[in-house]
């Protein structure tokens, strides 16, 4: 019995010392909460955020919940409030559910901003947006239209049903589809793979089964498009079912080279994290307050301005970038 007690004690001590390095204290502590762990896109965001905070001279606290849920993010926000960090940047898993937790943080003097996937305007001071949502939505529909030859059934494979960024893009896709040009294109379903690899695979398989005449899939999420690429490759559906969306070059190079996906779009996730890092810093040192017209310098990205979008304010990273067989090889090494 005694040995066991000692054993547990040792175990707990070992575990506890493993974590000490993270508890270092410096003047500025900037926290980032991404949607979930194990997603290469999120890991790149964290990389960029950490880079910006390092340039500033602060400490970056990077958090990723095991599951892409708002519950897990709420718990993390509370832990960050207790640590009295200076700023929290978050890619929200739900636009509204984080409001009580984030407003509590703001009441305690913590600067709150969202990036990538926005939380509602009441829960944040400013949002760092990767690219013009309208442009993303419309160009994805234009792309699939061209790939399927102007007619047929298409489906969307999204992330979680509460992801604000994906939902905005899907809205714009639907608006684009209303144009007369797309009379022969039918959007049959929006499926949700929850940004989980296995669920995205099974949702893709279900789409193919339920809609045997399906001609195209748009996956506006990096996990979804990679899963769909894998399913379409395995089932040898090249030329029968087309694929486009938003994907990481490193993950999608294989499917772009083998012709499953003719082209896709993305921005640099490292840059979003980087811009969020500098935005957090500008909020903390009072350079900006999140009001329209505020400007600041975001490191290598140069001067950025706060603009009004919807009911809140945003900072825009830039235009989405198109990846195809011609340029994928040089980008797949980058991110």
């Amino acid at each position: 019995m005694k040995k066991l007690f000692v054993g547990i004690l040792c175990l707990v001590m070992m575990i506890s010392f493993a974590g000490t390095s993270a508890a270092a204290q410096t003047a500025g502590r900037y926290a980032l909460i991404v949607k979930s762990a194990g997603n290469p896109y999120n890991e790149n965001e964290m990389k960029g955020f950490a880079k910006a905070i390092k340039e500033i001279g602060g400490t970056a606290i990077l958090k990723a919940p095991a599951e892409p849920t708002a519950e897990a993010q709420i718990m993390m926000i509370e832990q960050l409030i207790a640590q009295r960090v200076d700023a929290i940047a978050i890619a929200g898993n739900d636009p509204d559910a984080l409001q009580p937790a984030l407003t509590k943080a703001m009441k305690r003097g913590i600067k709150v901003l969202s990036l990538d996937s926005a939380v509602n305007p009441q829960s944040r001071m400013v949002h760092v947006n990767q690219a013009d949502s309208e442009k993303i939505g419309r160009s994805l529909i234009q792309g699939i239209y061209e790939m399927i030859g102007g007619e047929g059934q298409i489906a969307i494979l999204s992330a979680t049903s509460q992801a604000a960024n994906q939902n905005t893009w899907i809205e714009w896709m639907k608006k684009e589809l209303k144009k007369e040009k797309y009379n022969k294109v039918e959007l049959v379903k929006v499926a949700y793979g929850d940004d989980l690899r296995d669920k995205s695979v099974s949702e893709t398989e279900a789409l193919l089964k339920s809609y045997p005449n399906l001609r195209g899939i748009i996956a506006p999420t990096t996990v979804g498009i990679a899963a769909a690429g894998k399913v379409l490759s395995d089932k040898e559906l090249k030329g029968k079912v087309e694929l486009t969306g938003l994907g990481l070059p490193s993950e999608m190079a294989e499917y772009i080279t083998n012709g499953i996906c003719d082209w896709m779009y993305l921005w640099n996730p490292i840059d979003i994290g980087y811009l969020a890092g500098y935005t957090a810093h500008a909020l903390v040192n009072g350079e900006i307050t999140g009001k329209v017209g505020d400007t600041f310098t975001a490191g290598d990205l140069g001067k950025k301005e706060v603009i009004a979008v919807g009911g809140g304010t945003e900072i825009m990273l830039g235009a989405p970038f198109k990846f195809d067989a011609g340029n994928i090889d040089e980008w797949k090494e980058v991110y």
């Binding site: 993270a22 508890a23 849920t69 897990a72 709420i74 832990q79 640590q83 559910a97 009580p100």
Partner: protein, 328 residues
């Protein structure tokens, strides 16, 4: 087997008293607090600690009745889905114009009904084990929630509703105050009433209990219904905390609640365990998770640590039983 629980009839011995599982839990509890305080300068602070309880106590409301279920030797894995279904029904009713307090009542009723259905199915189909029955209802309840809301969110609750999850009474979180009262009631129910005695009796030997005049079926239906009701209480707190709801909330809650109960020394083979152990383990798991979060340990490693804690504790408890047996 049966001699393990009837403590009052055993003569008091100092050795058995100190070899009880609860002492080990208390030791772990104290150790976790010392280590957390040592690692994070923000941990040992009354406000922080009180705030921390708001993060994990919603599940604790499920763990309390779950202890009864597991003492029976049964299990209920449908609770996570019950949380989702009752929460979704409440949100949809409120958005359809039903007053909030009625919608909350509906939430509690849905939980009650879900639990009742579990209980009835378990006593009517004795050839099916509780895990199979609740596995089916787990899928069923979650499915209904998805049919009602279809992958969307619903919310917009009145401002006062957020008091449940975020409010304080004289500096103490409301959820903590209510949990303290509820935990006392459950401890009383299990240890000081004939109802509690019958629960242990059924867990030790259901057939013998039936022959001694215990209405086993009725008892089981009551306990499963109670579990459903308490699950709906947890659902109220979780929904209040989030301010909106989706059909996929509370996934994995069943495992969290069961883990708390098992770590608390309640044996899954039935008939053994005490409330104080469950309550201690609720705080052990919750504060350990919170403390690790405060020093920003990555969430996968947190899962591994809690898994290890569970394995080690179950190992020790089985060793404990074996040692106890060899002495007798």
């Amino acid at each position: 087997m049966s001699s393990v629980n009837i403590q009052t009839e055993k003569k008091f011995s100092l050795q058995t008293f100190f070899f009880q599982w609860e002492w080990l839990l208390l030791l772990i509890f104290v150790m976790i607090n010392i280590i957390n305080a040592h690692l994070s300068p923000y941990y040992l602070n009354t406000f922080t600690l009180l705030d921390a309880t708001m993060g994990f106590l919603d599940k604790a409301f499920i763990a309390l009745p779950m202890a009864f279920v597991i003492i029976f030797g049964d299990i209920d894995i449908s609770v996570g889905s019950t949380v989702a279904l009752s929460s979704v029904v409440m949100a949809v009713l409120y958005n359809a114009g039903v007053p909030m307090y009625l919608a909350m009542l509906a939430c509690l009723s849905v939980g009650l009904i879900c639990g009742f259905i579990n209980g009835i199915l378990i006593v009517k189909f004795k050839e099916l084990s509780a895990i199979i029955v609740t596995l089916s209802t787990m899928i069923l309840y979650r499915g209904i929630a998805y049919i009602i809301l279809e992958n969307q969110a619903a919310g917009g609750f009145p401002q006062w509703f957020s008091f449940l999850g975020w409010g304080y009474i004289k500096g103490i979180p409301f959820i903590l105050a209510l949990f303290a009262v509820t935990a006392l009631v459950f401890a009383f129910l299990l240890h000081k009433t004939t109802f509690g005695r019958k629960v242990y009796a059924i867990g030790n030997n259901a057939v013998a209990s039936r022959f001694s005049g215990v209405k086993v079926d009725k008892m089981k239906v009551i306990v499963f219904t109670l579990t459903g009701f308490m699950t709906a209480v947890a659902s109220l707190f979780l929904t209040s905390k989030m301010g909106s709801t989706r059909p996929n909330i509370a996934s994995g809650y069943e495992l969290d609640a069961i883990a708390m109960v098992v770590l608390g020394g309640v044996s899954t083979s039935g008939g053994k365990g005490r409330m104080i152990g469950v309550i201690l383990s609720i705080f052990i798991v919750g504060l350990l998770r919170y403390g690790l979060g405060l020093i920003n340990v990555s969430s996968q490693i947190v899962l591994i640590i809690i898994g290890l804690l569970l394995i080690v504790s179950v190992m020790i408890s089985s060793l404990n039983i074996r040692m106890g047996k060899s002495k007798e």
